[in-house]
């Protein structure tokens, strides 16, 4: 990837982080951890990879993105707002009465959201259906689905994984946000994954790519480029991420959801602004 593109994606990821904090900060509490860990993957998908048209969100031949870990809604709202699907400010109504921006992503509410998620595991099946449906329709698009490592406790994830491999859905790419924390603590303590989530996907017949730093836009880009060359099977990216990445109050603890003080919010947003300025200045 050329340096300019790389720089642009790093800037976009920093913008997504700042907006995610502002969105959740507008309500004062929310799922900061699993939103912030996804910012870099969102930057690569919406900043480079995906074939989309913000002016025509349900364009038939678009690439799809399903946030199966639906509680990460804010990072998606930040991304879509920055891409111009709607004015950014509208997302600052997160979880206010009557809002179109609920905690969990909802195709009925938010422009640019392809499928409704929130009951963990379902988004994976829905994405598999969208990938199969796209093939039935004769389209050449791709479907991306993001699942959490905690979400991989759900049996439905593995039912969907076996279905996708059986039907050779090579237009499907699953990104596992492997941030190693779930609501009650470390994934390893709450419900461990045997030989590992990647090993499981491999056993289910997927092409698996271990992305060592899942918060590095270049590594994510390279992995998706590899996924596009794979024929006859779906691809899974294990993104080794840091929960709460870039949120000063959340990153040290890896908290699933946070309700920091006003001062902590101000500090986090200021730090995020400084981080964005620093990345912009790098070029």
């Amino acid at each position: 990837m050329n340096k300019q593109k790389l720089h642009d994606l790093r800037v976009f990821a920093a913008e997504i982080r700042l907006e995610t904090l502002k969105i959740i900060g507008s309500r004062g509490f929310g799922h900061v951890g699993g939103s912030m860990s996804m910012a870099d993957a969102m930057a690569v998908l919406y900043g480079d990879v995906m074939n989309i048209d913000p002016k025509n969100p349900r364009w038939e031949d678009r690439d799809w993105f399903v946030l199966s870990k639906g509680h990460g809604g804010p990072v998606m709202y930040a991304t879509l707002g920055l891409k111009g699907y709607y004015p950014m400010e509208s997302a600052y109504t997160l979880n206010q009465p009557g809002t179109d921006f609920p905690s969990h992503t909802d195709r009925r509410k938010t422009v640019g959201v392809d499928l409704t998620t929130g009951s963990l595991g379902q988004g994976m099946s829905e994405a598999v259906g969208a990938a199969l449906g796209s093939k039935v329709k004769g389209r050449t698009n791709h479907v991306f689905v993001a699942v959490g490592d905690g979400e991989c406790d759900e049996g439905e994830v593995w039912e969907a994984a076996q279905f996708a491999a059986h039907y050779k859905l090579d237009n499907l790419v699953c990104l596992v946000d492997n941030n190693k924390r779930q609501l009650d603590g470390a994934v390893a303590d709450v419900m461990s994954h045997g030989k590992g989530i990647g090993a499981k996907f491999d056993a289910f017949g997927w092409h698996v790519i271990d992305v060592q730093d899942g918060n590095d836009v270049e590594q994510i880009s390279d992995a998706i480029a590899e996924a596009y060359t794979v024929k006859g099977q779906p691809t899974c990216l294990i993104l080794n991420t840091v929960k709460g990445k870039g949120a000063t109050f959340a990153e040290p603890s890896g908290a699933h959801s946070s309700q920091p003080t006003k001062e902590q919010w101000d500090e986090a947003i200021a730090a995020s602004e400084a981080q964005l300025a620093a990345i912009r200045a790098e070029q």
């Binding site: 009925r108 379902q122 099946s125 829905e126 598999v128 259906g129 449906g133 039935v136 279905f163």
Partner: protein, 323 residues
């Protein structure tokens, strides 16, 4: 809506499931957006015919019902019209969270076929005997819920369901059962069918209880009682207008269903009457019991789903009328 009543209490030589399969075969020929998903039960409902004729539109999801429903919703979101089948017990209980959110809440056209409802599960026994499948689907806002009674009705309503824009559920007996209607009969979703007119009491039945209701009407007539019989194939949206007309004109109602009365047709009719026209109501159906194994006719006797039970209920309802 135009139909021809046969009602001779004779068994159809054809399996009821083939009403579904025939309708799908015809529609798939011209509608390339029509999809059937099964859960390793193609052999039971004869949808292997669909897979053979239209392999690009028919998919087996294996024994993984939750995923199958999620996949159905995802496919529907791409612009396809999706039917999905499992036994009624799994089509309701096993895939309900997915049906509720991914299909129902998301307003996607997913049509669920639940086979062998209630006592029709017969030799599969208690574990496979759904007396609550319609209750689950009726609880989803804006859903359509149907209890089909025979081959001709299954065929006609399958074609109507393909046009429903959201979540729908149709339960149907797989095997051959008593013929109520002649082939070519047509029905409208949400419109009950008055099969026999009457003045003393109205029997509102659906599914395998329609034929029992017709028999009950004949037995009541022999006793000098004039009973109206309504086939209420659609439980939701319920034909409240027809129920209220019957309540006002006959002054007593009996419901008959192959489902828990506390959360099915009887309770739905009761809601209408309570809100708008209180008349004596007696409800034939499952009374807070689980299923059990046995031949279907034995089970109908055990759960008091026979014409004689309907007759007794009708007499009781009439006796309760204010003198």
């Amino acid at each position: 809506m135009s139909y021809t009543l046969i009602g001779k209490h004779e068994k159809d030589s054809r399996a009821n499931r083939d009403g579904y399969v025939s309708a799908m075969l015809e529609m798939m020929e011209t509608n390339k957006d029509l999809i059937h998903i099964d859960c390793d039960l193609m052999g039971c409902i004869n949808t292997g015919k669909l897979l053979k004729a239209f392999p690009g539109q028919t998919f087996n999801a294996g024994i993984a019902e939750q995923n199958a429903m999620g996949v159905a919703a995802g496919m529907a979101a791409t612009g396809l019209d999706v039917f999905i089948h499992s036994f009624g017990c799994f089509a309701a209980r096993r895939m309900f969270d997915q049906a509720f959110l991914a299909a129902g809440y998301s307003k996607l056209p997913v049509h669920v076929i639940g086979s062998d409802p209630g006592v029709c599960a017969a030799f599969n026994g208690a574990t496979h005997m759904p007396f609550e499948d319609c209750a689950l689907y009726m609880s989803v806002p804006e859903s359509v819920v149907i209890d089909s009674c025979d081959y001709a009705q299954t065929y006609a309503l399958t074609k109507k369901l393909a046009k429903v824009p959201g979540l729908s559920y149709m339960r149907l007996i797989r095997k051959g059962f008593t013929t109520v209607y002649a082939d070519g009969s047509d029905f409208e979703i949400g419109k009950g069918v008055t099969l026999r007119d009457g003045t003393d009491v109205t029997i509102i039945a659906s599914g395998i209880l329609v034929d029992e209701a017709l028999k009950a009407e004949e037995q009541l007539a022999a006793k000098g009682v004039s009973a109206r019989v309504i086939d209420m194939h659609t439980w939701k949206p319920l034909d409240a207008e027809l129920i209220l007309k019957a309540a006002k004109e006959t002054g007593a109602i009996v419901t008959a269903e192959n489902h828990q009365v506390s959360c099915g047709l009887g309770s739905a009719v009761s809601n209408v009457l309570t809100d708008q026209c209180l008349v004596p109501l007696e409800r034939i159906g499952i009374q807070e019991q689980f299923g059990q194994v046995g031949p279907q006719d034995y089970l109908m006797e055990q759960y008091h789903l026979l014409a004689a039970d309907i007759v007794a209920a009708a007499e009781k309802a009439i006796a309760r009328k204010e003198k």
